[in-house]
């Protein structure tokens, strides 16, 4: 049996003295799309940032517990090579954040940083830009500033930039919430296409979106002012027959 892509055991996250998430356990299945839903402020994004150790950049954040990548790499080991971990576990943020460089340099810079051979770069750039449906739109103007792209195009560039590093897992932190409905739909389609290729974890406020694209889902909630998981399993079961009353109320629009 293949081990989970990410295995989270008894995870707690503190910001200074405030306990954000407590004693949380979750297995992320490989090559599936896992959606994390729930109201604001219950620690969904905080959990996501521990999976690639971006939490290290928040000075007052402390993380306890165990996170294992592919059943072998101890993610929370202080001695781990963070640059390699973040290549394997990519991330796309809520607000599109292309670098203030050209479209080409946005993809080239991380590839060079990870030692990809120079003659291999153009191929990877084209294939990843095709994968997010951006190649036809930008192939004639790769030297133009990435900021000249529309919001949706910028977000797809950010996805391409992460995919070009050939990650094993990719984390999406509300990737569509800053986009208009048309751009949001396109980004969603490209995320859905990643199934079978790599492991996807997506935090979203959009329940309909989670239902459409995910294979498994976890519902976060706040109990005693601390974030926890109240419902977890195959997407169909979670949404159609939730066992937790708060989750059922949340899906029906009565709570959250």
């Amino acid at each position: 049996m293949t081990p989970p892509a990410l295995s989270i055991e008894n995870l707690s996250i503190h910001y200074a003295d405030h306990l954000v998430v407590s004693d949380l356990s979750l297995d992320i299945e490989p090559k599936k799309i896992t959606a994390i839903v729930g109201p604001s402020g219950c620690g969904k994004s905080s959990l996501l940032s521990t999976l690639n150790r971006l939490s290290d950049l928040i000075p007052e954040a402390r993380v306890h517990g165990k996170i294992t990548l592919n059943g072998e790499t101890d993610v929370l080991d202080p001695a781990i090579d963070l640059l390699e971990l973040r290549r394997k576990v990519g991330m796309v943020f809520q607000k599109p954040n292309p670098f203030p460089l050209s479209i080409k340099r946005n993809i080239e810079l991380p590839l060079k940083e990870h030692g990809v051979a120079k003659d291999e770069i153009p191929d990877r750039m084209e294939s990843t830009l095709r994968q997010v449906g951006l190649w036809e739109e930008v192939s004639e103007r790769l030297d133009k500033a990435a900021q000249t792209l529309s919001g949706g195009q910028q977000q797809r560039l950010c996805i391409a930039r992460a995919l070009a590093l050939r990650p094993e897992v990719i984390l999406f932190d509300e990737p569509c919430s800053a986009l208009d409905p048309v751009a949001s739909g396109k980004v969603e389609d490209h995320i859905a296409e990643l199934r079978e290729q790599l492991t996807v974890v997506i935090v979203t406020h959009n329940l309909a979106q989670a239902r459409r694209i995910s294979d498994t889902a976890a519902v976060f909630w706040v109990r005693d002012r601390v974030g926890c998981i109240i419902e977890n399993g195959p997407t169909k079961d979670v949404f159609e027959s939730p066992t937790d009353p708060d989750a059922a109320a949340y899906f029906s629009g009565a709570r959250g």
Binding site: L57, F93, N97, F99, P100, R105, L109, P110, E113
Partner: protein
Amino acid sequence: MSTGKIHHTRWNDRALHLAGFIAAFIVVSGFFAITFDLIKNGTSGLSWEFIIGEVNDSGRSGGIGPVLVSTGMILLSCLVFALPLGFGTALWLSEFSAKTRASKFILAGIDLLASVPSVVFGLFGMVFFCHVMKLGFSITSGGLTLACMILPIIIRTTLIGLQGAPNNLRLGAAALGISRVSTIRHLLMPVAVPGVVVGTTLGISRALAETAALIFTSGYATRWPSGFSDSGRSLSVHIFDLAMNVPGGAARAASSALLLMLALLVINFTATSLADRWLKKSS
């Protein structure tokens, strides 16, 4: 009038507009008065012999060649220390120190240093660089003293430049596994460079204008400097001396001051265009 109130506001706006114009006019005319005065009194004394000639009769005749060379050497020894130390400190404060108690303490010290009068730097330089470090009255002592003086300017402006870089740039780079060094080199420096250029030119201007800190440290010898350990007179010290201690030196002081202003203009222009070229190349 039925629209009295509206009329009243309009009058206020006009008064403010006029007051602002008058203030700006006074400032600009002050600048032009100084420049005009320097050009009127200084141009006739300018010649090739004046620029490269030796200082004779306390500056009443001959030129300012050795003074220009000393000024350049003082500035060079100042920047060699101030620029790497300043950039390094600003980088550490902005990117690596993470608002620890040590970084707050250092920042407070830097701001305190910025408000110290230059004559105090001169006294410190004389005691510390000339005597304790046994560098004597030398161009190096003067340059190091000036470096202490302009460090706060360079650190503060570089820091403002770096902190102007949005945080999602750093997060985005980290999430792609890009190292700190590459993040600084490729992503933060382009954002910070305009601030660095402003800080460096401000620092150079302040260093070139300085007299009090240099009289005690690099001295006022008018001979050609034999090296960085020799004493040497900077242009500002020379102008001060001509204007205050040498009867009949006023015209030569004006010529020297005109050269000083020209030098500042050239430095300012060079720094800005170098930065522009670097920015174009890196993007």
